[in-house]
Amino acid sequence: MMIYADVLVIGGGPAGLSSAITTAEKGAEVVLVERDDTLGGQLVKQTHMFFGSKNEFAGSRGINIAENLRKKVNENDNIKVFLNSTAQGYYDDGIVGISHHERFKKIKAKKVIVATGASEKMLPFPNNDLPGVYGAGAVQTLMNVYGIVPGENVLMIGAGNIGLIVSYQLLQAGVNLVGIVEADSEIGGYLVHASKIRRAGVPIYTEHTIQEAKGKSNVEKAVICELNDNWEEIPGTEKELEVDTICLAVGLKPISDILIQADCEMAYAPQLGGDVAVRDENLQTTIEEIYVAGDSAGIEEATAAMLEGELAGLSALMDLGISKKISKKQRRKTKENLASLRRGPVGRKIREGLKITKEGNDAGKNRYTHIR
């Protein structure tokens, strides 16, 4: 069976939902594919309030933003949603295969927007594979989606925004947070979050790392130690902490599999979490029919993902010739909003990464030649 559409959106998180809504509202026939059984992506476990300067989502909690987007998608007859569906590949004839309830379906869309999100990074240390070592997202899923306490005594690794926010959420759930370990000399996340945690009496160990986890079939202890200016472990500074859970919040990397398989040119941009698709300022990749948005285009926050979803959607509409004039005007506004979100010292890293995505580089380009 072949399903036809103007736009296929892969991924039902903040970016994908925004793309689907933006394109469907202007009359495009949209198919939205999501591997989970609910829409919303990682927003469904974000209990904290978003802040930003002048975007429309400031002051809302992620869970409510997800609900709002989900409602808009469900109310729009132009959007056909396939849940429990994973995109399997993009073929030369522009067909995307999906598995839907263990059946294979083919989708032929004029434009494809890839918004597949991110996966968590690992940190190398002995026994990092023991049960009880969780990604920060897993801790959020257990705690905020299912209401299950992830552990009794938790050590957080990473004091970026995710580490700090999940730490605060652990405290809200009444879990004993033993401390936060951060290799850098400074806290990476917003100080508003850090001071909440400090006020609760939780130590933040900057210039520290986790040396190893100890335990037989579960985490029973964590050994941390100080780092010198060259990020080398200082012998004799080891501290043993009694914990049953180690939560890793050491960054995310874009999920780019389908972009790589489709043969989009990739670039290595560490500022954006790893390999990302080379694209123009309208989020069109080197394959004309394919656009990227959200974390799969480079790790940022959910607000940026939603704006990128909108931008990719508007670009697809313009290239399809649907509401060209209005889309163009709206696209200019969306770009301004994105630029203002990425302004200032906080957005510097992102801006550097984006520069690479426009120019491309050999590191990303040559990495996948062997699979062609």
Partner: protein
Amino acid sequence: MKRLKKHPVLDFERGKKISFKYNGKKIKAYKGETIAAALHAAGVKKLKHSSRLNRPRGLFCAIGNCSSCLMEVNGIPNVKTCVTKVKKGMTVKEQEGNGDL
């Protein structure tokens, strides 16, 4: 491990109480929970072992990315238990070997 009853921001609307079998033992769960979440709430953290070195493995990403939670469910091997919802009467087992189709 315990299930949260009160939370300052969230209300947990749990589904019907059901039970399933894990390695022959009866485990209580709520409808709507994933297998891995229900096992975690019952104190089961080890979900599988690595194939070469037999090291214990458990949940890591909880969104179907990492394959650290593969188990045998109703006789089917390599099921991602972190994204598979628990069902009444289900049989869940720690898997031996790589599984066969």
